[in-house]
């Protein structure tokens, strides 16, 4: 037997329950009951050993490097909780079997219930606090499922989400707190933490850690001001409420206080935070419970109040107070479970929970009434019942704690007031429901429930009586061992007698009982007072809703303000970001902007080129509304750039730039044709001003960056390329050797990019139909003579010449300016010319319709060339070259890089053609209905 297997049993049982429910409704209930029994059967053999004072600790390695292992602990406190969870759980299973109607899915219910039970057991039995937190959050999640079980109901969904938000938030805080706690104590294991109380309390992180942990505990145990989720969680089926309010969920919060009591308590912060919350909760819960007309609402607020009571006991901090706290945990679990079940029976059999309608039920269900009255009396603290005993201890502790404080009399006074209201609402529960006249238009005639539905209540009420009458014989040993578990030491002696003589606690009890009766007698004016003045103002749920809707509003406003879907916005932010970080980096790094490189003299040619560039660029911007003009101006800029490359001895670059320029301008012309001829409205003036500023700044930044780089002396790895180009790469054109050899891999990537661009355009164009304009912007129709004969003839004559040039450029590329990329572009230009001069039909008749294979072959050749070097044991793309001699031709050089270059050539030609053909097809389609388009797929 081990502790983990108990938890696994329950979780596995949850799955099993879901599965068996397909074989019949009641199977799920049976299985759930058996699973609970099986878990109990595993726990019970360990009970004697715990009573003998042993603590079982089990350990399985899971995540040891961060101190997060599966470890379980069974001591008195853990055992008490495990017994409560399983014992009351078993009764809930039985009760729910009769409570759920035929429309409710039992499998889902019991499956969730067992999951929840497993999570609660996990909390109780955890040795590692992070593992405890895992189970803690699981209870939040599974309780969400349970509360929202009737998901068609608005209040169930809202209640569940509220509970999840509050307890989930607390869980997150708790996570933060426990991580800090682990850091302080040096371990997440309770055995270490519980023994390092002094170290923890002295640590600078103690206060933030305490606050976070308490947030977790308070949200879970519904302490003021987080209490409101609990009444709203009543939307759950009543068996769930009974379970949540008695042995589980809210008790997890006070369990945590008890569990960490030795480590955290004993400081003023602890007393004030825990005590303040406890006292407020005690009072608020007790007062509001009286005013709830809903049976379950009354009980829910009473739970809140009792949790405040327990919390207050732990805040007082004396060992005896802790004992009282544990005792009240037990007692409250017993009577509250039975009360909720009784309320559920009444709801079930009378069809209402409204105490203004439910009157005089004694006549209809005397047996249930009797049970409910006993349980209610226990809740009120009537002698001979269990509630009385722990409440006496509480009064005594409150009185003695108060005597040490300034204004200490306030504490027992407040506690007594809470006691008065507790009696009042208990009396109301009894008197309003079972007496007080006749029922008022109930949907059905109340009657006793089935025999087995009452059994759980009977058992619990019997326990109330047993504990209340014979405390020493029944609960004393359990209480002792559980208190030892809380205190981690032998608890102080305490006497569970019913009669201690006349003392302050007894006087407070009597005052509470008498006062409670009086308050109940005055209830009608009080109700009016509440309805008129209190209720409209003190709505915690309204505050919560308000916060949530404020959150949603804030989030929406912020998101909408940021994300307008505007590309301009994105670009402005991008450039602004670049500016800020670029300038920031420069200033932080330090150093002058200009380097100390000697300047070349300014020659008129460069100056002119620079001026043309500047004016050309400005003109592009100015003429952005006349697209074709702008495009031509862009062409001018590109051509001047290529001339500058010539000036600075970059023939390869110049050639590339020139051919790229031609191809892109033509393709852009084709694309521009489809743009609408009307212009969209200009952006508002302020936005254009903003854009102007950003553009100027970004341009200045780019210019300064270039200046900073160019004005510095330049030493780089390029010398290596110059030195190794011929001996290592077999080519004297360093640019080409870099492209196909030194950095051939870049080129492989870039031709892939080119191919991707072509494929992307193909895929995109294939799916859209763009209507082209019939006339130009001035409304003039297109010239009927689209392909003048003279131009067509000359273009045809030029084709072979152009192709020859491209072959020439390709072949000499390795040693002289040229290469596959330029050659490919030249070929493409030659073919584009045919297209322009002869029209798309003529050209397409003579061109391969489908250039996909050309693209693919190009890529394949380039890749396979690279792979070829594997055969010789060299890495990918290692080149080799040799000199050969052939008759007539003479000596020539062959390099594997040429094959690679061939691949480049093919990809370039293939890509350009693919784009061209498809843009051309669009043109055809725009003038005539698309025909023959399928052929080119």
């Amino acid at each position: 037997m081990n502790l983990m297997s108990i938890i696994i049993t329950v979780f596995a049982g949850s799955l099993l329950t879901a599965w068996v429910s397909r074989f019949g409704r009641l199977q799920a209930a049976w299985v759930a009951g058996l699973i609970t029994l099986a878990a109990l059967a595993q726990l019970l053999p360990m009970v004697p050993s715990v009573f003998a004072g042993n603590t079982h600790i089990e350990h399985w390695a899971w995540f040891p490097s961060v101190g997060l292992d599966l470890s379980f602990r069974l001591d008195g406190l853990a055992m008490l909780f495990a017994l409560l969870i399983l014992g009351i759980g078993l009764l809930i299973v039985l009760y729910a079997r009769y409570y759920l109607s035929a429309r409710d899915c039992m499998g889902r219910f019991y499956s969730y219930l067992l999951m929840f039970m497993g999570a609660m057991l996990g909390i109780a039995l955890s040795e590692n606090v992070i593992q405890l937190l895992i189970f803690w959050e699981l209870t939040s999640l599974t309780s969400f499922l349970l509360i929202s079980y009737w998901q068609d109901r608005e209040e169930a969904r809202q209640g569940a989400r509220m509970a999840l938000a509050i307890t989930g938030a607390g869980g997150l805080a708790l996570l933060g707190g426990l991580i800090m706690l682990g850091q302080i104590a040096g371990s997440y294991e309770l055995s270490v933490i519980l023994n390092s109380g002094d170290q923890i309390r002295a640590h600078p992180l103690y206060v933030p850690m305490l606050v976070l942990v308490l947030l977790g505990a308070f949200t879970k145990s519904a302490q003021f001001p987080f209490h409101f989720w609990l009444p709203n969680a009543m939307a759950a089926p009543t068996p769930v409420s009974a379970y949540l309010h008695s042995a589980t969920m809210v008790k997890a919060g006070v369990f945590l206080l008890a569990r960490l009591f030795p480590a955290l308590s004993g400081t003023p912060e602890w007393s004030y935070l825990v005590g303040g919350a406890g006292l407020m909760t005690l009072l608020v819960g007790a007062v509001f419970a009286l005013f709830k007309h809903d049976l379950k609402g009354l009980l829910a607020y009473s739970t809140i109040s009792h949790l405040g009571l327990i919390t207050l006991l732990f805040a007082i901090g004396t060992p005896l107070a802790a004992v009282a706290g544990v005792f009240h945990i037990i007692n409250h679990a017993i009577f509250k479970a039975s009360l909720f079940m009784a309320a559920g029976i009444i709801d079930h059999e009378a069809g209402s929970r409204d105490m203004r309608k439910l009157n005089g039920l004694w006549k209809y269900m005397p047996h249930t009434a009797m049970l409910a009255m006993v349980a209610s009396a226990a809740m009120a603290g009537v002698p001979l019942l269990n509630g009385f005993l722990s409440k006496e201890m509480f009064f005594a502790e409150a009185a003695s704690a108060g005597s040490h404080l300034k204004l200490g009399w306030l504490l027992p006074a407040a506690v007594t007031i809470a006691g008065i209201f507790a009696v009042a609402y208990s009396v109301r529960f009894i008197h309003d429901v079972f007496y007080n006249g006749e029922p008022i238009d109930l949907p059905k005639t109340p009657h006793e429930p089935p025999r087995w539905m009452k059994l759980p209540v009977e058992l619990l009420v019997a326990l109330c009586l047993l504990v209340g009458i014979l405390p020493q014989a029944t609960v004393q040993p359990l209480l002792e061992i559980a208190s030892a578990g809380v205190l981690q030491t032998t608890p102080p002696d305490f006497d569970l007698a019913i009669w201690h003589g006349v003392n302050i606690a007894l006087i407070m009890s009597v005052v509470a009982l008498v006062g409670g009766g009086l308050v109940y007698a005055m209830r009608l004016p009080l109700f009016r007072l509440h309805d008129e003045h209190l209720a409209p103002r003190l709505q915690a749920k309204a505050v919560f809703d308000h916060i949530m809707s404020a959150l949603f509003r804030f989030a929406s406003a912020l998101t909408r303000a940021l994300d307008t879907g505007s590309l301009q916005r994105m670009l402005v932010l991008f450039f602004a970001g670049a500016l800020v970080l670029g300038v920031g980096g420069f200033l932080m790094g330090g150093g002058p902007l200009s380097g100390n490189r000697a300047m070349l003299p300014l020659d008129p040619l460069s100056l002119m080129a620079a001026l043309i560039l500047i004016f050309g660029t400005l003109a592009v911007v100015m003429s952005h509304r006349q697209r074709f003009t702008a495009l031509i101006l862009i062409g001018v800029v590109g051509l001047v750039v290529s001339l500058i490359f010539v000036k600075f001895s970059g023939p390869d670059l110049a050639l590339t730039q020139l051919s790229v320029e031609v191809v892109t301008i033509v393709l852009l012309l084709l694309a521009l044709y489809f743009l609408p001829q009307s212009h969209s409205a200009e952006s508002p003036r302020w936005r254009r001003a903003r854009d102007l500023v950003v553009a100027l700044l970004a341009g200045t930044g780019a210019a300064l960056l270039s200046w900073a780089v160019l004005s510095r002396p330049f030493t780089s790895i390029s010398d290596y390329f110059l030195a190794n180009s011929v001996p290592g790469g077999g080519g004297s054109n360093v640019v080409n050797v870099i492209l196909v050899d030194f950095r051939g891999f870049d080129t492989l990537g870039e031709i892939t990019v080119l191919a991707l661009a072509a494929l992307g355009i193909f895929a995109m164009l294939e799916r859209i139909y763009l209507p082209g304009p019939d006339a130009d912007a001035q409304g003039r129709p297109w010239n009927w003579d689209k392909h003048p004969a003279v131009m067509a003839s000359f273009a045809r004559l030029l084709l072979p010449l152009a192709l020859m040039v491209s072959v020439f450029i390709f072949l000499r590329g390795h040693n002289l300016p040229g290469g596959g990329f330029i050659a490919g572009l030249v070929t493409a230009v030659a073919l584009i010319m045919q297209y322009l001069a002869n029209g798309e039909e003529w050209t397409q008749d003579r061109l391969p319709a489908n250039t996909h294979p050309m693209l693919a072959m190009g890529l394949l050749i380039a890749t396979l060339t690279g792979l070829g070097s594997w055969l010789f044991g060299y890495p990918f793309l290692t080149s080799s070259f040799g000199h050969f001699h052939l008759p007539f031709i003479g000596e020539f050089e062959l390099a594997t890089a040429m094959a690679f270059d061939l691949g480049v050539y093919l990809v370039v030609v293939g890509s350009v053609l693919l784009i061209l053909i498809y843009l051309g097809l669009m043109h055809g389609a725009s003038h005539r209905p698309a025909s023959g388009k399928e052929d080119y797929r």
Binding site: L581, D746, G749, P853
Partner: protein, 506 residues
């Protein structure tokens, strides 16, 4: 020299080429080919990861040119982790796509494979300009994939995506050019070495270039305020593409991590820790803005896109903390968040096809078929994504918070990470509640998609199982992440492997 290093690049490249060549083949055979290639990629990634787990760094000199002159591929623990994460995600995204997404347009499989080529290249390359090239491959392939299936919304989002990324590429070139101008090299290890000995007069220019690179990578990672391209792009594309894109932001995060630990790492002399003042605050803000965006979202896929933004924030919070433990936390979080986001986008598709005209908007609708099952998946994925126990998201958060203790910004990290988790919880509780709970009984049943449910949900389930596996085997995975972080912060392994005789250069 072991050719296995380059295999994760050549395999998808060749697969892409062959798929392009074999276009006449029936679709089923092309699917098989594509899937086989990705499966082989997974196997390869596992092999590579096991090889470098011992801390060795493999260098592959392309064209047999030694670094820093030629381009090198470098496989260290980090690169291997990224490869494995990518290939696993890709496998399941592709599996889902083979149910019919690939029919919606041309060249899906070619683009998909080349996208993997770009991703793997970005993770493996040790050369800054080559990284630029692979960013271009990625950009073009993802643009094609993004538009796949076409539609007005997609085209619009695609345009924004490509324009902003082209702006990013331009800036990338500026930054690389500047670094080359000042430092005279492109090899990342060499850049690190040269930065150390850089004259103070040139430091400002080099650091400006470094931060410009950070801007570029931040754009890729969708760090605020450069995240605006992401929600529309992710929300409007097809499900498997959105799922695959879960790794795309990680490319940016990866590049930031390399920039932060290698080039401007501890060894960079006076320029060390260049990103420190920027990264953590921006990451925290990203997390917060992402979660608020998730709250403000009106449709599921938009919400998921914002959660992706938030997860980038979480990831970079860990990287931004900069300690070994924190980076390890980030490296644990990275695959987790990738799988989770991928799975969630696949689930969103299953939801969308069952909601008829309502699409994925958060409005009550007739109850969808398979409501319980899909609701269960939603619940589990929400738990994983928000970082609630017990699954991998929780562990990632736990590790990050644990690592934040003692950092000067610990209070901020705790507040934002925990608060962000709460916001995510509120957001997903609401959307799940609306879509699965607030459904009325249908007057007539909504149509059920044709394919079998098991087939439909298999990729999603596999990704969820990966998250579960990351939980169960948290220890070995985290051990690997710790080793990786140690290797990164040490920096020396990488540089020594790439430049065996460093110092001879200066």
């Amino acid at each position: 020299m072991n050719h296995l290093v380059i295999a994760p690049l050549l395999l998808p490249l060749l697969a892409g080429i062959v798929l392009l060549l074999l276009r006449p083949l029936p679709l089923s055979q092309r699917r098989l080919l594509s899937l086989a290639a990705v499966l082989a990629l997974v196997v390869m990634a596992i092999m590579l990861l096991l090889e470098v787990a011992d801390g060795s760094v493999w260098v592959y000199a392309l064209g047999n040119w030694p670094a820093p002159y030629g381009i090198v591929l470098v496989l260290d623990r980090l690169a291997a982790l990224m490869l494995l994460t990518t290939s696993l995600l890709a496998l399941f995204a592709l599996l889902y796509a083979c149910r019919g997404t690939d029919l919606a347009g041309r060249h899906f499989h070619v683009l998909f494979q080349l996208q993997l080529f770009g991703l793997n290249g970005a993770f493996l390359t040790g050369d800054l300009f080559n990284l630029f090239v692979f960013f271009e491959v990625l950009l073009l392939a993802s643009y094609g994939l993004l538009l796949h299936g076409s539609g007005k919304r997609r085209t619009r989002a695609g345009l924004h995506f490509v324009v902003i990324n082209l702006a990013g590429s331009t800036l990338f070139l500026f930054a690389v050019g500047t670094l080359y101008g000042v430092l005279g090299s492109l090899n990342m290890a060499d850049l690190a070495v040269r930065l150390e000995g850089l004259a103070p007069a040139d430091r400002g220019v080099a650091e400006a270039a470094g931060l410009l690179l950070f801007v570029v990578f931040a754009l890729k990672a969708a760090l605020i305020p450069l995240h605006l391209w992401l929600p529309a792009a992710y929300a409007s594309t097809s499900a498997p593409v959105a799922a695959l894109f879960a790794i795309m932001t990680k490319v940016g995060a990866y590049a930031i991590l390399r920039l932060d630990t290698l080039i401007f790492g501890a060894g960079a002399g006076a320029s060390a820790h260049l990103l420190d003042p920027w990264l953590l605050p921006l990451a925290l803000a990203t997390l917060a803005i992402g979660m608020l965006g998730a709250i403000a979202s009106t449709a599921l896929r938009q919400q998921l896109a914002y959660l992706v933004v938030a997860s980038v924030g979480s990831l970079l919070v860990a990287f931004g903390l900069g300690t070994e433990a924190a980076i390890a936390a980030g490296l644990y979080y990275l695959p987790h968040s990738t799988f989770a986001a991928g799975a969630f986008f696949l689930l969103a598709d299953s939801i969308v096809i069952r909601r008829g005209d309502m699409d994925d908007r958060f409005q009550a609708n007739a109850a969808m078929t398979e409501r319980r099952l899909l609701g269960g998946y939603f619940f589990v994925l929400a738990v994983i994504t928000v970082g609630l126990p017990p699954l991998s998201g929780f562990l990632g958060k736990f590790l990050t918070l644990r690592a934040a203790l003692g950092h000067p910004a610990e209070a901020w990290v705790f507040a934002v990470v925990l608060g962000g988790g709460l916001l995510g919880l509120i957001a997903l509780a609401r959307s799940g509640s609306v879509m699965f709970y607030r459904a009325y009984r249908p007057a007539h049943a909504l149509k059920t998609p044709g394919s079998r449910l098991v087939v439909e949900l298999a990729p999603l389930s596999a990704l969820v199982l990966l998250s579960l596996a990351m939980t169960v085997w948290a220890e070995p995975i985290h051990r690997y992440a710790l080793d990786t972080a140690e290797q990164l912060l040490g920096g020396a392994d990488y540089i020594r492997a790439v430049l065996p005789n460093r110092g001879g250069l200066q």
